[in-house]
Amino acid sequence: MTLKLTSDRAGIAWLGLLALSLVAFPWYKGAPIWQGPAASALSEGMSGHGWLWPLIAIVVALGAATFTRKWQQSNIALWLTLGAMFLYLWQGFAVGLRGPSQAWVGGVFEAAADGQTGLGWGGFLAGAALVGLLSDLIASRGFCRGERFASFCITAIVAALTAFVFFPILKLGLAAFVDTDGNLALGTFWARITAPDLWGLNCLVGGGRCGVVINTVILGVLSATLATLLGLALALLVNRTDFRMKRALRAISILPIITPPFVVGVAIILLFGRTGLVTSGVADLLDVRPGRWVYGLPGILIAQVLAFAPVTFLVLLSTLEAINPTLEEAARTLGAKSMKTFRSVTWPLLRPGLAAAFLLAFIESLADFGNPIVLGGGYEVLSIKIFFAVVGARYDLGNAATLAMILLALTLIAFWLQMRWMGNKSYVTVTGKSDAGLASPLPGVLKIGVFAVVLPWVIFTLAVYIIIVTGGFVTDVGRWDLTPTFQHIVTAFRFEFEDGLQLYGSAWDSMMTTLWVAALAAPLTTLIGILTAWLVARQDFAGRRAFEFGTMLSFAIPGTVVGVSYVAAFNVPPVDITGTAAILIICFVFRNMPVGMRAGLAALAQIDRSMEEASQTMGAGGLTTLRRVVLPLIKPAVFTALVYSFVTAMTAVSAVIFLVSARHNMATAYIMGRVEAGEYALAIAYSAVLMIVMIVCVVVIQGIVGTRKLGRRKELQGKGQVPEPAE
C-alpha cells in the first residue's frame, strides 16, 4: 500500500522545468539569461512569433493531463509529450535565419519573413525537459524494468547522439548530393565520387601515385598494426616482466599522448628532413646527397605510430590488468609451459583489447590531420583533402561532404571487420569471488621480442623529445644554432604585473581557451562514455541493440568528418553555435565519448554482474550501485577515459580546426599557424609549455581517481606479501 509519491514527483518536476523554460528564460540565443521572461517563448509568441504557440499550447494540455489519475501511465500523456517534441523540432526548423523554410509557414505567420535566430537558454532547457519527461513516462510503462535513472540516461544519450552526431552527419550527407547553388545534382555527385584521383592504384602496380583513398587505407593499416604491436610490447613489459624502469617507461609512453600533434612532425623534419640533423650527418658520413624520403608515407607512419602507441598501450594495459591471474595459474598447473599458457590463455583474453586498440589506432590514422599536413609532401590523404575543400581557396562543401562520406564508409567497414573478428565470447574473469593469484611472467622468447621492439622506440622517442625540449629554448634548432634563449617563450607567454596581471604573449588567448574547454569537456566525456558503457553492458531494455549500434556508429566517425559535419549543421538555426566555445566542448564530448565507452565496456566485461545484483538486493538503486560498486571497480577505465579526453581536448586538431574562431582559438590551431609560417621554434616552445601543463593535469587526475585495489598479491612489483588465508 505504498503510494509512490517520489516517482510522480519526477514527472511533475520535468514538466515544471519545461514550463519554466517557456516562460522564464530567453528562448533565442543572444539574449542574456537575466532578461528572463521578457525574451521567453511566451513573450516572443505574443510579439509575432506565432509558430511558438502550438508548442506552448500542448505543454498547457500536458499540465492539465497531470490532474488525471495515474497520468504517467496514460496514453494521453505519452502522445502529448511526443507531440510536444515534434512541435519543438518543428518550430526550430520551420523558420530559418532569413525566413520561413516552407512557403505555407510564411503565409500563416507574417513575422516568419524576418526569420529567427538559433535557440538559447530557454530553447535548450525545453529540449532537456522534454527528454526527461519522456524518459519518466516510458519508465512508468516498464522500460528498463521501471528504473528511472537508467531510463533517463538512455533517453538523454539517444537524444544527444541524435542531435550532435546523426543530425550533422545527415546534413553533411545531403550536402554531398547538391551542387554549389544548393540544387540536387546527382551528376555532380557521381563525378565527385568517381574522380580518378580518389581510386588510382598506380603506386602498387608500378610508378606513379595512388589515389587519395588508397593512400589513406595503406597508411591506416600500416600505422594501426605497428601501433598495436608497439602498444602490446609496452603493456607486456610493464605488466608481465620484472623490468626495473617501469615507471620511467610509463612516463615516456605517456609523452606522445600529451604532445601537440604538429610538433612531432616538426621534430621529425628537424631530424630527418633534407637539412635535418640525422640526414645531414648521414650524408656527410657516407658522402651521399641528403634525401627527402621522410616526406610522405614513411614520415607520416613514423609520426603516427609514435602518436598512437600510447593509446593502444593504455587499452592493452587495462585489459592485461583485468585478466584474472588464477586463469594463467590454472593453465600452468595443468602442465602448460609458459609459452603455451600465453598462447592459449592470455592471448585469447587479450583479443578484445587488441581489437579495440587496433580499431582505435586505425580510425585515428584515418582521421589524423596534423601529421599528414606537416609531413605529407605529395602523399595526399582524405582528411587533408577534406580540409582544403572547406578551408582552401575553393570552398566546396559538396566535394568535402563526398570525401567525408568516403572516409566515413572506410571507417565503418573497418569497424565491421573488427566486430566480426572479435566474436561474441564472454571474457568475465574478475568475478565476485576474489582472486588471489600472481600474473604470470612473460615467456623468455617473448620477453626478448618485447625488448627488441621497445628499445628502438625508446631511443627514437628520446631523440624527438630532446628536439622538442631544447628546440623552444635555443635560437634556431633547425639551423643548429644552439644559443640558449627565452625569446620564443617570451613572444608567446609574456606577462607583466602592472595594475594586476597583464598577459601580453601572443599565445595566452588560445592557451586559456584550450585549458578551460578541456577542463569542461573531459569530465563530461568520461561521464557520458562510462554511463553508455554501463547501459549497454548491464541494462536490459527494449532497443538495446539499436542503442549499442548507434553509439558504435558515432564511434566510427573520424574527427575530420565530424568537423565538416558541424560546419554543415550548426551555423544555421535552430542550433546556431558555430564560433562559440560550446561547439568545441560538444565536439570533444561526442568525439571522445566512445573511448570512455570502449574502456568502460572492456572493464565491465571482466566484472561479474552479480556484484551489481547484490548491491540491488541490498536496496541500492542504479545510481548508487554505479557510484559505490561499479565505478570503484573500473577505476582504470575511468582514469583512461578522463586522461584521454582531457589530453585529446588539448591536442586535438582534426575536428577542431574547422570549429575554432577568432574569439575561441585553440592551442593546436595556433601552433598550426606557426608551423605553416615556418616559425618552428615558437611552435616548439608553445608545445613544450602545453605539455608541461598537461603533465600537471594528468597527475592531478590520477590523484583524484586513484587506482583500483583488489587485494591481489603484488609479488611482481616486489611489494610486501599478504598473509596466507587460513580457514
Partner: protein
C-alpha cells in the same frame, strides 16, 4: 505454516520465445526453508531471481509478505541474497561489505558498522572485519556473503547454489551452518540447488522443477517416499522404474506380481533400491555386485528388467551370477505417471 511469506500466482517468465518459468503457483510459509531443485535449465534460478526482483515476471504476481511486488525493482524489496560467486565487493573490507546494505537504507555509518560487527560475530568472523575479501578463505568469504545478506533482516533470504564453490568436504559443515543460522534467526529462506542430497539435508520443503514447471512440492520424506512422477523418483535418490501392467488389482512385470490399488492398464511403478530384499535361489540373476563400504549394491537382471538393489553390509553377501528372488513389500511399490 501460519503466515505466508512468499507467494507465486500464475507466474510466467519469458525471454523472447523461450519460456523459463511456465505458469507456476506455490506459497512459502514464514520461517520455512524451501529448496528449488531440478536439473540445469529447469527455471529454478529464474524463480529465485523473480523473488529477488532481479527479473520481473512476464505474467502473474509475485507476493512477498502479502504485498504484490511484481513491478518493484530489486532495490525496493526487502530480500537478502547469497550469490553463487558470493559477489563480495572486492574493493571493500569485510566490514564495509556487510554494512553496505544498512547504509544504503539510511542507517548511520556508525550504527551500520555496529550491526555489521554483531552479525559478523554471529557467523564466527569476529576479528576479520578489516580484511579484504581476497584475504579470506572460500568458506570465510561465503560466511561474509551470508552475513551481508542477513544483516538487514530481510523478509526472505535467497541462496543461489551457495555450496557450488565450497570444497566438497566442507559442504556438509557449511550447509549445516546455513540451516542453523536460518533457524536461529527464524528466517524465511529459498535455496536453489541441483544437488538432491543437499536439498534433502537442508530443506523443510522441496520444490522439484522440470522445464519451467513444478514437478512436485513436498517435504524431503514425502518426495522420497511418495514421488508423484518417474522424474521426481529418479531425480531424488536412486529409484527403480518398472514398466508393467495392472490387471484386476495386480501389478505384474517380469516375475513380479504385487497387489495395487489402480485401474487396469499400463503403469510405471517405482521402488527404492534399499526396499528390495534378496533371497537366495530364484528366477533373477545378479549381474554385478559392488562393495561400497557402508552397503552392498547389486544389479539384478529379471527377464528384461534391471533392478538396482542396495543392502546393508551386515547381511550375507551375494556375488555376481547368484540366482536370487526379488522380494518387495507391496506398500513400498509406488505407481507414478
Amino acid at each position: 505454516m501460519a503466515e505466508t511469506a512468499i507467494e507465486f500466482v500464475d507466474v510466467v517468465k519469458r525471454y523472447g520465445d523461450a519460456t523459463a518459468v511456465d505458469r507456476i503457483n506455490f506459497s512459502i510459509g514464514k520461517g520455512e526453508l524451501v529448496t528449488f531443485l531440478g536439473p540445469s535449465g529447469c527455471g529454478k534460478t529464474t524463480s529465485l531471481r523473480l523473488i529477488a526482483g532481479l527479473e520481473l515476471p512476464s505474467e502473474g504476481q509475485v507476493k512477498i509478505a502479502g504485498r504484490d511486488v511484481s513491478r518493484d525493482p530489486a532495490s525496493e524489496r526487502n530480500v537478502g541474497m547469497v550469490f553463487q560467486s558470493y559477489a563480495l565487493f572486492p574493493h571493500m573490507s569485510v566490514l564495509d561489505n556487510v554494512s553496505y546494505g544498512p547504509t544504503i537504507r539510511g542507517v548511520s555509518k556508525a550504527d551500520a558498522r555496529d550491526q555489521a560487527r554483531a552479525i559478523l560475530d554471529q557467523v564466527g568472523l569476529g576479528g576479520l572485519e578489516a580484511r579484504l575479501p581476497s584475504e579470506l578463505s572460500g568458506g570465510q568469504q561465503q560466511r561474509v556473503a551470508v552475513a551481508r545478506a542477513i544483516v538487514q533482516q530481510p523478509d526472505v533470504l535467497l541462496f543461489d547454489e551457495p555450496l557450488s564453490n565450497v570444497d566438497a568436504k566442507l559442504r556438509r559443515k557449511v550447509r549445516a551452518e546455513i540451516r542453523d543460522l536460518q533457524q536461529r534467526f527464524g528466517l524465511t529462506a529459498v535455496y536453489v540447488t541441483h544437488d538432491q542430497e543437499e536439498a534433502l539435508a537442508v530443506s523443510d520443503r522441496i520444490v522439484v522443477m522440470k522445464m519451467g514447471q513444478i514437478a512436485q512440492i513436498g517435504t524431503p520424506s514425502e518426495l522420497y517416499e511418495q514421488p508423484s512422477s518417474a522424474f521426481v523418483a529418479d531425480f531424488i535418490g536412486d529409484a527403480n522404474l518398472i514398466e508393467g501392467r495392472v490387471a484386476a488389482g495386480t501389478f505384474s512385470a517380469a516375475h513380479l506380481s504385487l497387489p495395487v490399488d489402480a485401474a487396469d492398464g499400463a503403469h510405471t511403478a517405482t521402488i527404492r533400491p534399499e526396499r528390495i530384499t534378496l533371497a537366495a535361489g530364484g528366477a533373477a540373476i545378479i549381474s554385478s555386485a559392488s562393495y561400497l563400504g557402508s552397503r552392498m549394491e547389486y544389479v539384478v537382471q529379471d527377464e528384461d528388467l534391471e533392478f538396482l538393489v542396495s543392502r546393508p553390509i551386515s547381511e550375507p553377501r551375494l556375488a555376481a551370477g547368484d540366482a536370487v528372488d526379488l522380494q518387495i513389500d507391496p506398500a513400498d511399490l509406488i505407481l507414478v505417471q
